[in-house]
């Protein structure tokens, strides 16, 4: 039983408010990723759930308790830190066992739980080593082991993969996902990496400037971004933004409003045959796909994602773009999505 409920959470440092009221309900066993650019308040939010930061106003429920005033250890959580935060003078075994020792768990059970976690994380040969004798990936595993052995109601991850190299990051990402599925523990995961967010999350919270711009399943957020910020942040390359309406039979947009279209929802056709023409600046062939960069007649920059085997348009040529009008999203001057 570990639902998490955030009720209008606010955080201020002195007079500066950094989190402007966040509401979210997380059900038991769900994997929630909080994603956003640096400085958006995502780590602060996580640390408030952990009990490492005080809550200025609002309530955090874990299970059926309000935990606002509880110490971290009383909240039934475990946290994995960005720099692993392993105790340098303790062996891998002691690092994982420390929390249990403090909780006065019987020795035999500590032994059993650590052995189980070590087996799951393939750390068995390293139990006697000190953290400095381990590689980055192994340290990461020890940090996860330390979280697992406590059998918490909630896992909290604070950018746990950002210190690993690209290859290891992908591998550990899969392992974290598999582990969380297996243990069925509610997880809150903070990252600035949208690929991590897309691949790990059951639902994600996209944060910007201390507010939750959108909460939803990754594919849903991708297909139906609620704001222009989400449209630009989720997806790589980001959604194209055009300052004038290209849909047939439509008048001009309201002042400040824009339309957006995903790079993969555009097809190349002969000049004049599509909704709009594009002057190709250059192409980036990536193998499986190719990104065509160019400028529209109105001066907007635009990227098209096409199949890698399609013949590339030459730089400087003009091509036509065919776009399904239903794929075009409209955002008002404040960046909110509007239905038309």
């Amino acid at each position: 039983m570990a639902e998490i409920k955030l009720e209008s959470i606010r955080k201020s440092y002195g007079r500066t408010e950094v989190i402007h009221g966040i509401d979210a309900e997380i059900s038991d066993g769900e994997f929630i990723v909080i994603v956003g650019p640096s400085g958006c308040g995502k780590s602060t939010l996580l640390r408030m759930v952990a009990g490492l930061e005080s809550i200025t106003s609002g309530d955090i429920h874990i299970g059926d308790r309000v935990v606002n005033r509880l110490e971290p250890r009383e909240r039934d959580i475990a946290m994995v830190f960005q720099n692993y935060a392993l105790y340098p003078h303790m062996s891998v075994f002691d690092n994982m066992a420390y929390g249990l020792k403090i909780a006065n768990v019987p020795k035999a059970e500590i032994q059993a739980r650590v052995a189980e976690a070590a087996r799951m994380l393939e750390l068995e040969p390293y139990l006697d080593r000190k953290p400095r004798q381990l590689s980055g990936g192994q340290r990461q595993r020890v940090a996860m082991g330390r979280a697992i052995v406590r059998k918490p109601a909630v896992f909290l991850f604070d950018e746990p993969l950002s210190n690993l190299d690209a290859k290891l990051r992908v591998q550990m990402r899969l392992e974290i996902k598999a582990l969380q599925r297996k243990l069925g523990v509610t997880a809150l995961y903070v990252t600035h990496d949208q690929v991590e967010a897309m691949t790990l999350a059951d639902r994600m919270i996209v944060m910007n400037g201390g507010v939750a711009e959108q909460i939803g399943a990754p594919l849903d957020v991708y297909a139906n971004p609620a704001t222009l910020f989400v449209a630009g942040f989720i997806g790589s390359p980001p959604m194209n933004v055009l300052s004038h309406d290209i849909r047939p039979g439509r008048g001009a947009l309201d002042p400040g409003a824009v339309i957006g279209v995903r790079p993969e929802h555009i097809d190349l056709v002969a000049p004049g045959a599509g909704l709009i023409d594009l002057d190709v600046a250059f192409c980036e062939p990536l193998g499986a796909e190719t990104l065509v960069h160019g400028t529209t007649a109105a001066g907007d920059k635009l990227v098209v994602r096409i199949d890698g085997e399609v013949e590339l348009p030459a730089d400087g040529t003009r091509i036509g773009l065919s776009i399904d009008p239903a794929r075009i999203l409209v955002f008002d001057a404040s960046g909110r999505r509007i239905e038309t």
Partner: protein
């Protein structure tokens, strides 16, 4: 080719010669003291001065240890040991605790207290010796170990050193310990103390020698010979008026007084080097 080798050989000889000469200059007085502690008074005062050890080593050292001057040297050595260990351990405990408070706890006037501690650096024992004597005398602590140790325990240097060390320990480690459920005392004992191990060892050496070599303070507050420390005791053994001077016994005492700091340095050296090699932060 051969010229180069010769040249290098000559350079090696010269540098080694220089080093050996330097060591000889430093060691010669100690050698003289050692030689003087192994001969009789008559040998010593008759020119030329002996430069090689004599046969009376055991006699002189036994006389020093068992009879000495005003008090037997074994007693003075014991007093010195108690004082040096008391000062060292007391200083380390006090400064660890105050550094812990200053770095990890937010309380009113925290910085004021830090600067107050820091300012005591400007007040060595000699400067505050008269008021300190007054306080210790009023408390009835003259001629006691407490009186010898207590006024020398507060240490701004060690507090400052531990403060700097604690500030290099990443916040995430503190937070991990909090999530693991370690309260302030557990965190101090289980995490901070082991991580400060090598610094504690270094301070132990420095402070032990500081405590052992205290001269003025024990000279002031110990009037009872049985409370004399060995460093001041040597001076007390020098005769006043026209008593005869037993130089070999005094020299033996001096050699004995030198021994414990040397042993501490040699004993702690391993921990020292080990700490330097396996830096683990």
């Amino acid at each position: 080719m051969s010229g180069m080798v010769e040249k290098r050989g000559l350079g090696t000889w010269l540098t080694h010669g220089g080093l050996i000469f330097g060591i000889a200059v430093i060691c010669f007085p100690i050698w003289i003291a050692f030689v003087a502690s192994t001969v009789t008074q008559d040998d010593l005062v008759r020119p030329p001065m002996p430069l090689l050890p004599g046969p009376h080593l055991l006699d002189n050292y036994l006389e020093a240890l068992l009879t000495g001057g005003a008090a037997p040297v074994w007693q003075m050595l014991f007093n010195s040991l108690v004082m040096a260990l008391g000062i060292t351990i007391g200083k380390i405990i006090i400064s660890l605790l105050s550094a812990y408070a200053i770095v990890y706890f937010k309380f009113r006037f925290r910085m004021l207290f830090f600067w107050l501690i820091f300012m005591t650096l400007m007040l060595p024992v000699e400067v505050r010796i008269v008021p300190t004597y007054e306080v210790v005398a009023n408390l009835g602590l003259l001629n006691s170990y407490t009186g010898l140790i207590l006024p020398l325990i507060a240490s701004a240097t060690a507090t400052f050193l531990f403060r700097q060390l604690f500030m290099t320990i990443p916040d995430e480690l503190t937070e991990a310990a909090r999530v693991d459920g370690a309260g302030p005392i557990r965190f101090f004992i289980d995490i901070l103390l082991p991580m400060s191990r090598t610094n504690i060892a270094a301070l132990f050496v420095i402070l032990f020698i500081y405590g052992w070599n205290q001269y003025l303070w024990p000279l002031l507050i110990t009037t009872d010979p049985s409370m004399n420390t060995v460093v001041m005791g040597i001076k007390q053994m020098l005769p006043t008026g026209d008593q005869t001077v037993e130089w070999p016994v005094i020299m033996a005492t001096a050699m004995l007084a030198m021994l414990p700091p040397v042993l501490v340095v040699l004993g702690m050296q391993k921990l020292f080097v080990k700490g330097l090699v396996e830096s683990e932060k």
